[in-house]
Subunit: 294 residues, 3 copies
């Protein structure tokens, strides 16, 4: 990256105008006016916020709403979704897709009620359903995932991923819309969680911050294959554990310890933990100045 | 999730109206008009921003403010807090609570000045106090934690957790308002840090990204007990280490290495590290195609 | 933190006014009207957004822009940058610095096109360039890093760090502006990634969430020295691996496994993995109730 620091200010000003112009021409040449104009982050975020407000009201106006008002808001929500869908799907399909998504909403709502109840039941620091809804990023991530997964099931392109990234940006939790997640799912703290496209998660599963359910092989040719693990019912996976591979199944009622690196299946009722032990050394035992790198 | 893809568009439009209406009735039936209307994320975020602007001004208007102006802004801040408190505490208590919180502010400010100074002193990449205040998410997390912990000490419900989540969303650092944190605390980088409700942290402690100070047992019955570790003065804990358990104490002046999983106490002046060594294998040594999962 | 809970409401109200006033005087005494007024987060974030919109348009207005319009926007961008630079650099230098930064933009744009193409080529879940640009936080982090690194190379103080923190807050990826990053760099998922000031990264490198390229010694006296590792061409580093030290080099075409803690150099074509194996224990094998802490 060579820099022309020599030119005088007068000459430079003209230079820069030319520079802007020639760079602008490069930028224009790379633009594809026919390319799909995707829904913006703000548009997708507003959709998430409206679903959250409809499903789990926290504000005074929301709590006191009548069925007529909510029905009208659901209709508006569908119209908004239809407009977003028209940016990623054929124009003749988007209204129909929005309608089919609306049909999924009562089931999604029911799943989300269960998720919230199970978080309150499982966390000694959780005091109420209101607190979970207002203050648990893991719950926001699940709300968005169930919406994104619904759209993914209707084969909607890109929009499900945009939804997932709204959740990722807000919570640090990255769940691919394709992941299948059972009832009463709980993510605690959650920052750094990654759940891959073909992961399958049973009922009553709980995972902590930094857990990855990922792929062993990430060759482009693996697209479409099951690359991510299966986690059976009531498994708990502690912080920063990494479970990888499409053939890897963690059997039901198992516990996976923190910082574990697991790439093979384990049967039901397993405890999985590292053989690595920590060692403790006193400063007085050491001759040379020590660093944590020892 | 069955989908009715068969119905024609005309019939569908009526269907959807009925669907909206019946789902709206479910939503209304789940609403509790008497439930507490919690302070919104925006409201709590604005409170944090105003404290940051008062304590550590970066803008021209802020820097030039007089004592009269700042005094008036402190009074407004207290009124805002009082309004938020009325949403989570009895109406007759909220003004008094806001006043008692205001009494804590000078001490909190003094602690935060020390935190900022210790970050500059300890980080070779930090060039000035201004840089730390403007660009260190670990500092924002400490500011919010000391505010939230003050409210937690006054037994204010939920609002401290909402404050903590503002910091979590902005920084990826999740500190429960109950955690007791000593002077000159430093979190570097910070994404993925989790510090539990009953953790106790001494003076001059430094922790890095991905560190968890968590609980061993997360049974709901453990609520109220000390479930999280004690970290004594001048301990350093490196990236992605996990320290767990209410009886676990890391003695003063100890160093905990990165990626360590520690569930027992260690004495003062300890170095704690994994016995696990990495192994290196050359591609030419392998017969079969290798993956990172080996 | 003693609390005066005894005083009556009437007396308290006066107290609080005095309290505000005396605390305001402390705050004023700590302010330095001559201190630099740094660019705000909003200002720096808007700069990032405008570069993103210019380089990788997603909205209808952007896609259809002419070279004249883009040239005018580049000129405005430079004027905005110049204003921000005047807050951190001498007034007589800021216009010149903005011009020298503008000269770097075509090269930065070319690097970023390569980055986006390599992400599509390497990720089985990526379906198009548009999806990468719209929905990959790792790509946003690289965009911002290449901008920040350009300013860092011009010895601009603080502003590069403010840019890096915009990316960190949005993506959970923390790259110091000083880090040297080669062509076709890919960060997947990315939450928790930390790349230090003196790291050197070759071409075609791919890293996953939670990877740290950090320092072994973090003494303040180490400022200015190479403290962070060198990663040669085509290295892949999996989730939550930690690579530390200024003398540590990972040779080209190597693979570093997840959760590895690496503090020494490895030659080209190495596979690096933990010797630690996971152990699996069945519930029926245990006499006492087990926890994951075993």
């Amino acid at each position: 990256m060579a820099q022309r620091g020599e030119s005088g200010t007068g000459g430079r000003r003209v230079d820069l105008h030319d520079l802007d112009r020639s760079f602008a021409e490069i930028l224009v040449s790379e633009r594809h006016p026919s390319a799909a104009v995707l829904p913006s982050k703000d548009e997708v975020g507003a959709f998430v916020d409206e679903v959250l407000a409809l499903f789990f009201p926290q504000g005074a106006n929301d709590v006191g709403a009548t069925a007529e008002e909510l029905s009208a808001r659901l209709e508006l929500l569908r119209a908004d979704l239809s407009r977003s869908l028209c940016k990623v799907a054929p124009r003749e399909a988007c209204e129909d897709l929005a309608g089919r998504f609306a049909e999924l909403l009562p089931d999604i709502y029911s799943l989300l009620r269960d998720d919230a109840v199970s978080i309150v039941a499982g966390d000694p620091a959780a005091e109420s359903l209101e607190e979970v809804i207002a203050a648990y990023p893991g719950f926001v991530a699940i709300v968005v995932h169930r919406l994104a997964h619904g759209l993914h099931g209707l084969s909607v392109p890109i929009l499900p991923r945009l939804l997932a990234e709204v959740a990722h940006a807000r919570t640090g939790i990255d769940i691919h819309p394709g992941a299948k997640v059972g009832r009463s799912f709980c993510i605690d703290h959650g920052t750094g969680v990654v759940i891959g496209e073909t992961a399958i998660i049973g009922d009553g599963v709980k995972i902590y911050q930094g857990v990855t359910l990922g792929a062993l092989s990430v060759a482009k040719s693996a697209a479409g294959k099951k690359r991510h693990p299966t986690i059976e019912d009531r498994v708990v996976i502690y912080a920063n554990a990494t479970v990888l591979g499409g053939d890897t199944t963690v059997g039901h009622d198992s516990v996976v310890g923190g910082n574990v690196w697991l790439t093979t299946s384990v049967p039901a009722n397993s405890y999985v933990y590292n053989t690595s032990q920590v060692r403790v050394r006193s400063v007085s035992d050491t001759l040379a100045p020590l660093d944590f790198s020892i």
